[in-house]
């Protein structure tokens, strides 16, 4: 089994110095708009191109940075200053300017007015760890009944689509896939891997007739662009098998979660891998009994050891705390320590200032120079004791860890349909995969919503494990359900998924399985009516025998139109017009269904046309 982790590179990263600082000295923090993670760059330390590529977001040999303007100055003026300093603007959104710049000119950005913070661009990491899902979820039953995702558009926003052409040639993906590269590195660039291709394969297995939009992204602004593109294409569902660790406080806040929530408000179901970080996460409230300004992970230890690490291994640690995103007033720092035989010595520190207009996040990423036993520590520079979260995204194994609350961003968003993973071999009764991230969110909301199948047979990975695999399984299930009820809304599909989920673990929803294992049922009752109609396409009255007469009435009882099921198709379509051919007004309409047997049923159809049209 191949297990892959695609990890978001966080805003604030610090590179390990070649030689460690042998004593902890954290007083006298210098206020700077440049992230402390850039200190190695601005300090002129010689580093290879490969090291930069591994440790920082890079584009064409230049570092990709995000500048967050502080609102006191026009964004265009700030962009002009960046260009004057040698930067190339590559994107702008709200208060973020994305630009690339040569490492040796970054120091020119220091002191720039109108900027709250400059740091490396946020990067996403796919959550692969690598199809039995079709049968296990009963999607095959739906296919038999003609519900195969037809008419449904699924956006797959991912990080690498290498071998996409090969997958199409092999019949693993349809030739109708529409591809968009938002990175500028080439849609099928081999360096970015096959993760997205594998994800698309799972969606296609589950919903073979769904139209797929494959969008390649790398940085957060590209995610926004990809989302905007999917929205403009009329996507019903977006699958994102990636995490942006450190891009929220765990309350579903921050810019990435905002994208997800915006999708839902636009009637798009955003399905997201919950994360593979159950064993790579710790959370707890800051405690400092001995007043050494370091959090006590236990009564006697202020360090959380990662264990022995070899030279050349990459470390990637993220600290967030429960604070206001974008306005943190509690200043915490993250320290990386090495045991020198007699004491812990400071190797690297992320010590950005949080003084009211900053994000509550610190991060360290870098390459181990000297082999040894490493640990992380958390210091409080100022502020109150807060609930802390640490994600270890690469080498090492945290001594103190907590599986609870390990759900990643943007799965913590209120309107993200977060998906945990259950190995296909354990599908009947669980347990979930040990690495599958658990809820609740920092503010106590249930996560994940549901569990999908992982360790599927997969063309790209042979075995596709991780919540990256489970998420497209659920996205495909959603497409199948949506294709059966073409006029329903995203939240209807959301509700259908959780309603029919097969409960696992303790009775009822829980923070391990959510509502249970995804399970697609063929709905026996006649359907499609009583669902809010948004003004697109016909209303389908389903599962009605030949000869059935369907009458639509205004709520006052006046007849609007009548339909007759003339053939054996089992369905009738109402074009949402009255008998005279005029489009009916928004409102509630009664609908009677009179079958040839004499069975008579009455229900409603709600016609709305404004918000989701």
């Amino acid at each position: 089994m191949e297990r892959h982790f695609f990890i978001l590179i966080v805003l604030l990263t610090t590179v390990l110095p070649a030689a460690g600082i042998e004593e902890i000295s954290r007083k006298g923090k210098k206020s700077s708009i440049l992230s402390s993670s850039l200190s190695e760059v601005t300090g002129g330390t010689a580093r290879s191109t490969e090291q930069f590529r591994r440790e920082y977001p890079m584009r064409d040999g230049a570092m990709v940075l995000h500048a967050r303007v502080n609102g006191k100055r026009d964004r265009a003026d700030t962009s002009a200053d960046i260009v004057r300093a040698g930067g190339i603007i590559t994107g702008e959104s709200k208060d973020i300017i994305e630009f690339s710049i040569a490492p040796d000119t970054i120091r020119l950005l220091e002191g720039m007015s109108g900027v709250a913070h400059i740091g490396p661009a946020m990067r996403a990491i796919p959550l692969v760890i690598e199809g039995e899902n079709v049968v296990l979820t009963k999607a095959s039953n739906m296919h038999t009944n003609g519900y195969d995702g037809r008419g449904i558009k699924v956006g797959i926003i991912d990080l690498g689509f290498y071998s996409n052409t090969q997958a199409i040639a092999a019949g693993e993906l349809p030739s109708t896939v529409i591809t968009r590269d938002f990175t500028g590195t080439g849609f099928e660039a081999s360096a970015d891997g096959v993760h997205g291709t594998a994800v698309a394969e799972v969606v296609h297995e589950m919903a073979p007739a769904a139209q797929l939009y494959l969008c390649k992204v790398r940085y957060s602004l590209e995610l926004q662009q990809a989302y905007d593109y999917c929205k403009s294409m009329g996507a019903h569902i977006i699958n994102h098998s990636a995490a942006w660790v450190g891009a929220s406080t765990g309350r579903g806040d921050g810019p990435i979660c905002a994208i997800v929530n915006d999708a839902y408000s636009n009637n798009i179901l955003w399905v997201n891998a919950a994360g593979n970080h159950a064993q790579m996460h710790w959370q707890g409230t800051y405690s400092d009994a001995n007043a050494d300004e370091l959090h006590d992970f236990s009564g006697t230890s202020y360090v959380n050891t990662l264990g022995p690490l070899a030279g050349g291994q990459v470390v990637n640690i993220v600290l967030t705390w429960d604070d206001v995103w974008g306005a943190s007033t509690n200043d915490y720092d993250l320290l990386l320590l090495r045991w020198n035989g007699s004491a812990w010595s400071l190797v690297a520190i992320s010590e950005d200032t949080q003084n009211g207009d900053d994000n509550p996040v610190e991060g360290i990423v870098g390459t181990i120079g000297t082999a040894g036993t490493y640990a992380v520590a958390v210091g409080k520079y100022s502020g109150e004791a807060k609930k802390l979260r640490i994600f270890n995204l690469s080498a090492g194994n945290l001594t103190y860890k907590s599986t609870a609350g390990s759900v990643t961003t943007p799965s913590d968003a209120k309107h993200a349909f977060a998906v945990g993973a259950i190995n296909y071999a354990n599908w009947p009764s669980g347990p979930q995969e040990s690495y599958s991230s658990l809820g609740p969110t920092v503010d106590g909301r249930l996560k994940p919503e549901i569990c999908g199948v992982d360790n599927n047979t997969n063309y790209m990975y042979v075995r596709f494990t991780g919540t990256s695999s489970a998420s497209p399984c659920v996205a495909g299930a959603a497409a199948v359900i949506w294709s059966a009820y073409q006029n329903c809304a995203a939240r209807d599909v959301w509700n259908a998924l959780i309603h029919y989920a097969r409960d696992l673990g303790p009775a009822g929803p829980d923070n391990t399985y959510g509502y249970g294992a995804v399970n697609i049922e063929v709905v026996k009752r006649f359907a499609a009516i009583n669902n809010a109609y948004r003004g697109v396409g016909d209303i389908i009255i389903d599962q009605v025998p030949q000869g059935t007469v369907i009458r639509i009435y205004a709520v006052s009882g006046k007849i609007v139109t009548a339909l007759r099921v003339a053939d054996a198709s089992g369905s009738a379509r109402w074009n949402v017009r009255n008998a005279g051919g005029t489009a009916v007004a928004p409102g509630v309409y009664y609908c009677t269904v009179q079958e040839p047997s004499g069975v008579m049923r009455t229900t409603r159809i709600m016609i709305t046309r404004s918000r989701y049209q």
């Binding site: 939240r491 309603h499 005029t582 928004p586 409603r604 709600m606």
Partner: protein
């Protein structure tokens, strides 16, 4: 004169939507009152009834006392209707009234399940609130023919999940009395106005109703009353007009039994009901009425309404 009436009807027909379903807020044309429901929905030629707030606003003249209150509840197809009204009658017979009515759409089974706790799935309700004024002009001007006129101005709201329809609507009407007020004729133009959602403009469901009524006191302890309404707008549009008619047998001025019918869309529905009127204090009647209708195609309807009049006794010059 007739040609003018026809011309007016055709003008109104031309500004109304030509087919059912093209106008919004159809709930405005649902009868909320048990009495008029049991008459098949007829009531344009009524008077002395507070429910006129929702039908012919001139009908609210002739109330027996200074104050009147009214409320109703109905099980309507799959849903719940309610209405309520309050009226004050000045000594000169002018009446001011306020009424509200609405629908709550109850949860029903559908193909896709809905769970509580996630959101107010497909929540919908209708609300109408209106103020009315009616003047007994015939009495006030001491004319030989009694007649009343009235008008309402109201606001209607229909919330459909995430969409809201707002509209301002007015209704006007008149009732004339002949033959010692036993014969009545009425006309109502309902739901004149405009509205829409944030995405489009929508007209309310205009109605023009012509009505007639007759009361026959057979003996002192028994009287009969008949009411008839015709949907003139449908006629102007070239369609078959909806016809509503009903009769009431009032015994001992206490108990009433009613039977009515509706002919619309080539369908024929039966309505029936009963009621009782008590005088809690002298001249202050309290009425309880029930009705049901078969509403053949969309389902049954049961309506219960109550009204109470109190305060100073006003000269009741019109018949109900």
């Amino acid at each position: 004169m007739r040609s003018r009436i026809v011309a007016v009807l055709f003008f109104c027909g031309s500004i109304a939507h030509p087919y059912v379903g093209a106008s919004a807020l159809e709930f405005m044309n649902i009868d909320m009152c048990a009495v008029s429901s049991s008459f098949g929905g007829a009531g344009s030629a009524s008077s002395g009834t507070i429910e006129g707030v929702y039908k012919n606003p001139s009908s609210i003249t002739g109330l027996p006392t200074a104050f009147s209150v009214y409320g109703s509840y109905a099980l309507y197809v799959l849903d719940s209707l309610y209405s309520g009204a309050f009226a004050y009658q000045f000594e000169n017979g002018i009446v001011l009234a306020f009424g509200t009515k609405g629908i709550f759409y109850n949860a029903i089974e559908a193909g896709i399940p809905y769970t509580s706790g996630f959101s107010t799935n497909l929540g919908a309700f209708d609300l109408y609130a209106a103020g009315a004024i009616a003047l007994p002009l015939g009495d006030m001007l001491s004319l030989p023919i009694g007649f009343s006129v009235g008008a309402t101005l109201g606001y209607a709201l229909e919330v459909l999940d995430t969409t809201a329809i707002h509209a301002f609507v007015a209704s006007v009407g008149g009732v004339a009395f002949f033959v010692e007020r036993k014969l009545t004729g009425g006309v109502t133009i309902k739901n004149i106005g405009f509205g829409g959602t944030d995405a489009e403009t929508i007209l309310p469901p205009l109605e023009i109703l012509l009505g007639a009524g007759y009361t026959w006191d057979v003996i002192d302890a028994l009287s009969l009353k008949g009411l008839l309404d015709i949907d003139a707008l449908s006629f102007a549009q070239g369609g078959i007009p909806t016809v509503r008619a009903g009769v009431e047998v009032l015994i001992m001025k206490f108990a009433a039994v009613r039977l009515g019918c509706v002919y619309a869309d080539s369908q024929f529905d039966i309505t029936a009901g009963a009621g009782a009127k008590f005088s809690l204090t002298a001249g202050a009647p309290f009425s309880v009425d029930y009705s049901f209708s078969t509403a053949t195609w969309i389902g049954m309807r049961h309506t219960l309404s109550m009204s109470y009049s109190f305060g100073d006794i006003r000269g009741q010059k019109t018949t109900r």
